[in-house]
Subunit: 192 residues, 2 copies
Amino acid sequence: MSAKNFRIIKSEIRVLGIDDGKFIPHTQGNVIVVGVVFRGGCWIDGVMHTRIAIDGLDATEKLASMINTSPHRRQLRLIMLNGVTFAGFNLVDIKALNSATGLPVIALTREKPDLEAIHQALQNLPDNEERWRIVLAAGEIHEITCRGSKLYMEMAGLSGADALKIIELTSTRSCFPEPLRVAHLIASGITP
Amino acid sequence: MSAKNFRIIKSEIRVLGIDDGKFIPHTQGNVIVVGVVFRGGCWIDGVMHTRIAIDGLDATEKLASMINTSPHRRQLRLIMLNGVTFAGFNLVDIKALNSATGLPVIALTREKPDLEAIHQALQNLPDNEERWRIVLAAGEIHEITCRGSKLYMEMAGLSGADALKIIELTSTRSCFPEPLRVAHLIASGITP
């Protein structure tokens, strides 16, 4: 899917922020993943959830299904992920998620992803070549500045300029977009 | 505990909004209850949770424990509940919650609580006299107006005038306080 150019970015653009709950690493089981629908950087319109396997390979498919079956789907204009690694090393293929949902995807982190360390850790998991392919499929890691702080961004289905505008627009409370800040608060606040 | 008089109500007063998740009525088991810490009617500072029994009698104790052990406890100034009935007929004793936490409590609903129907329904449950005592312990049901809409309020540990001010202050998005609107979106959005 080619990059979407936003004709206009509305101040109340509906953005879905996604993060995963807490879990004990290297165990078996599922983790809850929470999606929060924000209007711009201000109001919460809704919350959705799914469950993915710890160190599994179902994150992309489960997120796409959560989004496509949501009553909020038609209002959504963008997906924001707290990085591409969920539930340990259950990796989200942001290009595939973009294709499956028709929505642009931004994966954002405060720390620069350490590709060497990820590659190393993947050696201990099954399907490590497929996982590494997904990591690389996220494409270039862009260092950006938001309200004076450095952030690291990967993206699929939109231009870098539009991505930056939407990150700035939604970072109303801190130097991180509200949809992701709040998705993190919810996902970690509802898990033991 | 006597009614607290707020010397001043700050625009960013920390309010905890509480609501329960979805469940199948008349079944056995637990339901998640979510608490959302708001600064006034605008920003989310944190999320907490506990679990209570469907039609159980542990709501007051579990909420008090969730609040008193939270890292947000010292910032909190008020508790708002989406009514006093949680998880079916697991009733919150708002006076006891006020005493156990030292925080004023407002229970707010859009519909007027139908005491006759509640009394009737309680006949089918164990400990129905204790449950009815808790319903009555919430005291007078005040009909109030918030942004032109009627709401029904019970309260413990604060004056009616202060309760009204805080409800108005936090109802930034709709005719219902944000802490309760968002607690409902989260609790229902994370349950199947």
